[in-house]
């Protein structure tokens, strides 16, 4: 019974196995990156960036149809362009980075929807916006897995400056003469992981598997490494549970996965061991010496 509900779909169907592996790879890269997005208060910037990918993917689609590689490269170029432009504008003008990013991503998103809707069918638009995790190809799996590997290795390399830049940016500037380079490397990682996620979950929900588990982990874990490990675990479990929901109740897979992650997030807000609603309103007695 339990086997039928939880295991059998993955044993019986190749597309379910592929989807599960894609979720695993996305969780490996997205967990730590989402953790840093939350710690750097960049959640909404991540959201903006995920929308900015759309026109690039759309142009890729125009050139070669539903091709994994052209759409990914297009999305990558568009995402990086918006991230760098926003970063540069905020450093040379008075506009703050969040405002300049919002400006660019709105232009980018409108352009993307325009391209897809004038040149393709609505089915194509849905495909780009919401992804197709149940029809992940071998190529897409290799791409997603490669991006996960690249992300983890790069994060390991820039871990120290990244942590210092979150915790005490002035110290990093004074001791190493700059934090901008680490910031941009991190932005590149965010964009690359969003491109990986959009293959499976679409541009609108790619961020979900990165952001929701990381935000949920904040209510349980108290160190950077444990936050990253927990958000990876939660992301994978959300993917697993979401796929089963989608299979057993015949629901669209992307929203099922993200809603599962959302459920974990809400439960963590309410029940987490750190600064959650529960600890706020039902505190344990404080220490008496």
């Amino acid at each position: 019974m339990i086997y039928d509900a939880l295991i059998a779909p993955f044993v019986d169907y190749g597309f379910m196995r592929r989807a599960l592996i894609a979720c695993f790879a996305l969780a490996l890269g997205g967990g730590p990156i989402g953790t840093f997005l939350v710690l750097r208060r960049m959640s909404l910037m991540g959201d903006a960036m995920s929308h900015a990918i759309l026109p690039g993917a759309a142009i890729g689609f125009l050139i070669a149809g539903l091709s994994l590689w052209t759409m990914s490269i297009g999305g990558l170029i568009a995402g990086l362009a918006v991230a760098f432009l926003a970063g540069i504008i905020s450093r040379v003008t008075a506009l703050r980075e969040d405002a300049s990013l919002a400006g660019f991503y709105l232009i980018s998103l409108a352009l993307g929807v325009l391209i897809v809707s004038t040149q393709g069918s609505n089915i194509d638009l849905l495909h780009v916006l919401f992804g197709t995790i149940l029809s992940v190809t071998d190529d897409a799996l290799i791409l997603v897995a490669s991006i996960a590997t690249l992300s983890i290795v790069t994060l390991a390399l820039i871990y120290r400056p990244l942590v210092i830049e979150c915790f005490d940016p002035a110290f990093l500037r004074a001791t190493t003469g700059g934090g901008t380079v680490w910031h941009f490397i991190f932005l590149v990682l965010v964009v690359v992981n969003l491109v990986a996620g959009f293959q499976a979950l679409g541009t609108l929900m790619a961020l979900g598997l990165m952001m929701l588990p990381a935000a949920a982990a904040r209510f349980w874990a108290g160190a950077v490494w444990s936050l990253a490990a927990l958000s990876t675990t939660l992301a994978f479990l959300s993917g697993f549970a979401g796929l089963l929901l989608s299979y057993n109740f015949n629901l669209p897979s992307g929203p099922s996965i993200i809603l599962t992650a959302g459920l974990v997030y809400v439960a963590s807000i309410l029940l987490g061991t750190r600064d959650s609603v529960r600890t706020r309103y039902f505190p344990r007695a404080h220490f008496h010496d």
Partner: protein, 238 residues
């Protein structure tokens, strides 16, 4: 600690939006000297420290002898106190020049970090979260980090501004210790009593240097009145 070169500034001007904050400053800090920088608000004291630390571009003039071997404590630390990091990890950031991106933090390093924490009176706080420290305890932790940086030139911008009397007395002892070890220490201060008591040299500035030398010769009523006057005159012009 590496030997400390003399630190000299020559005709230094630093301007924000063309309004000079430090204006034609010339002079030098002897190796191993302990100098207080005092002056009214807006006199360019913090800007001078930032210029020495290499954090603001110079509009004119030169700074010599300020390369690399510097530890700088800003006035308002931009520290994110909600960041999940333990006290010993935060203090170990002071080892950056030794360990950089990849080198391991050895047992020897950990021992030094613990010793620094004990020296600032935070022994036993290693595993606490930084967010749980009080303002005074955080300032002590930042002093421990300065100790690990092991720099020949130490710049302190109002190090005692937000801490109580006992903490500032403890921290002042550390500063005097650094002075005895032959490090050059420059501190921006407002407490003239403390300057008279503990700092052999003083630079009194109001954008331009008003007086620079032995503290007793600098802190005269006449000089202090002039500093106020110069500052007010600039305020009217700008």
């Amino acid at each position: 600690m590496k030997p400390v070169p003399p630190l000299s500034v020559a005709d230094l001007t630093v301007a924000y939006d063309r309004v000079p904050a430090v204006h034609h400053l010339t002079g030098s800090f002897a190796p191993g000297s302990l100098t207080a920088i005092i002056g009214p608000n807006g006199a360019g004291k913090s800007t001078l420290l930032k210029a020495i630390a290499g954090l603001v571009p110079l509009s004119e003039g030169r700074i010599d002898g300020a390369n690399g071997n510097i530890a700088y404590l800003p006035q308002l630390a931009e520290i994110d106190r909600s960041f999940p990091i333990t006290v010993i990890d935060a203090v170990s950031l002071g080892l950056w020049r030794e360990v950089g991106l990849f080198r391991a933090i050895t047992g020897e390093h950990v021992k030094r970090a613990r010793a620094a924490l004990t020296a600032v009176g935070l022994g036993g706080f290693e595993g606490r979260q930084v967010g749980a420290l009080s303002a005074g305890q955080l300032q002590r932790a930042l002093f421990a980090r300065l100790m690990l940086q092991d720099a020949g030139l130490i710049l302190l911008d109002e190090p005692f501004a937000a801490v109580d009397e006992r903490t500032s007395a403890d921290l002042m002892q550390l500063v005097e210790g650094w002075h005895r070890e032959g490090r050059t220490v420059i501190a921006v201060l407002h407490d003239l009593e403390r300057v008279r008591e503990s700092f052999p040299e003083t630079l009194l500035m109001a954008r331009e240097p008003v007086a620079w030398g032995a503290t007793a010769n600098v802190l005269t009523p006449e000089n202090l009145r002039r500093a106020r006057y110069v500052s007010d005159a600039w305020g009217d012009a700008a």
